[in-house]
């Protein structure tokens, strides 16, 4: 296919951004990929294993990195987009390093921020040792250092679902969708690392919608004997022997339950990234009740924005797993090519 004229700016060098940039470059467009951090990969680089097959996150990351080694791609790392104007059909973006980039189309892949667990004060994240977040745990897995603050092996671990999701107290009424399966995945990995530790998941609903998720859940019960207790943990404290004491209602027994734990893992939800929010304000981009970018059309235009020539991909529009993110990015590429080629502009 003949090279196409057109420069596309991709904002955000995470999974979606890298995949889209790669595909656009292959399609012969010249791409500028802007990433605020110094190295690419976004949240994916913190991830140890991916569900459902627990394939190492690095495998996917490496694929994406190779993806963007292409002459058509210009990398601007450690650089972020402050705002942009649309002059006619052209976008003028000014970056934090004062550069001004002209683009025919813009793709926002600003991704998500992990919910700050401190905001659920009653869980004492950052106050009690051994109350950690799902991201912290992934790190521990990556570093093969699964220990309590005092260096001992945890014997009893609790996992709290829906931390910062489905919770109007923190202003997020939506479901982050991936926490349930992450919890199950991490529970299994915990059991594999520490054979004789006990793991309990405290859930409100088990939302194992994705492919092979339910199977994982079944394995967690059958092969790993992980305990699932239905109820939202209400408060966390410590007792005299400095162990965590959690209070929860076992809604299926219809009784409050008190349990002593060595470690508590909080399944932090996904929120619209700060960067994304800034851009939304700067560029008058529509956002939904969940503060993520609102696509032009939920069914037919999930990659399109309310501004012609500006597109979205990945978790800046809604919580998504890696699989969905990548296909969403490819979708965006198709939309962009269509936009540039058939000069819909």
């Amino acid at each position: 296919m003949p090279d196409m004229i057109g420069n596309v700016v991709v904002v955000g060098g995470g999974t979606a951004g890298m995949e889209a940039a790669g595909q656009l470059a292959k399609a012969g467009l010249s791409v500028t990929l802007i990433e605020k951090e110094n190295d690419l990969g976004g949240h994916l680089k913190e991830w140890y294993h991916l569900f459902p097959d627990r394939r190492p996150g690095d495998e996917v990351l490496n694929y994406l990195k190779n993806q963007i080694i292409h002459d058509n791609i210009k990398l601007l790392t450690g650089n972020s987009v402050g705002g942009f104007q649309k002059k006619g059909n052209d976008f003028i973006l000014n970056t934090s390093n004062g550069e001004v980039i002209k683009a025919d189309a813009v793709l926002l892949t600003t991704g998500f921020d992990l919910f700050k667990s401190e905001r659920k004060e009653e869980y004492g994240y950052g106050i009690y040792d051994n109350v950690i977040s799902s991201a912290d745990l992934e790190m521990m897995f990556r570093e093969k250092e699964l220990r309590l603050k005092n260096g001992e092996k945890p014997g009893k671990i609790g996992i709290v679902h829906c931390v910062g999701s489905r919770d109007e107290k923190v202003g997020n009424i939506y479901c982050s969708k991936l926490c349930c399966v992450t919890a199950v995945k991490q529970a299994i990995e915990l059991k594999e690392t520490l054979r004789d530790c006990k793991v309990f998941c405290f859930y409100m609903d088990m939302r194992m919608g994705g492919a092979l998720y339910e199977e994982m859940y079944r394995d967690a019960q059958e092969k790993y004997g992980i305990g699932f207790i239905r109820g939202k943990v209400s408060e966390v404290g410590i007792n005299i022997s400095n162990k965590l004491i959690i209070k929860v209602e076992d809604t299926l027994a219809g009784r409050p339950l008190k349990m002593e734990l060595d470690m508590l893992v909080l399944m932090a939800g996904m929120e619209m990234s700060a960067g994304g929010t800034k851009l939304a304000e700067a560029g008058k981009l529509k956002t939904g009740e969940n503060r993520f970018f609102a696509p032009a059309d939920n069914h037919l235009g999930s990659n399109q924005s309310n501004i012609k020539g500006l597109f979205y991909a990945g978790t800046c529009t809604a919580p998504m797993n890696v699989t969905e993110t990548i296909s969403h990015a490819r979708g965006a590429v198709a939309d962009i090519i269509n936009y540039l080629k058939n000069n819909e502009k």
């Binding site: 088990m206 059958e222 004997g225 299926l252 027994a253 009784r255 409050p256 008190k258």
Partner: protein, 114 residues
């Protein structure tokens, strides 16, 4: 001891640490399929006994797992072992054996027949 016309009430909270789970351990060792329960309540819904009394296998299962044995001991014997539950269970839990083992466990550990 002085009478004030009111008294201390026992807390309803399930204290996981202090509860005794020897019964459920006995069962799980012999019938691991119990782990597969997802508390759907199908068993309780079809239960012949449950048709006449508040006997609920789902509840019994959860109470056993929490070590709330007293309540279970008095109820478990009401089961008629008819086996409808095991036919409806979506997770293939061998519910009949669970009850059967529970009865044995109580005889074994609490010494009196149920």
């Amino acid at each position: 001891m002085y009478k004030f016309g009111f008294s201390l009430t026992k807390a309803r909270v399930i204290n996981y640490e202090s509860n005794d789970r020897s019964i459920v351990d006995f069962i799980l060792e012999r019938e691991p399929s119990l782990n597969l329960c997802i508390e759907c309540g199908g068993c309780s819904a079809t239960c012949t006994t449950g048709n006449y009394t508040n006997f609920s296998l789902r509840e019994i299962h959860i109470l056993l797992k929490r070590g709330e044995n007293e309540q279970v001991r008095d109820k478990i014997k009401q089961c008629m072992l008819c086996g409808k539950c095991s036919l409806v269970c979506p997770r293939g839990v061998n519910t009949r054996n669970v009850v059967f083992l529970a009865k044995q466990a109580f005889q074994k550990f609490t010494g009196h027949a149920v």
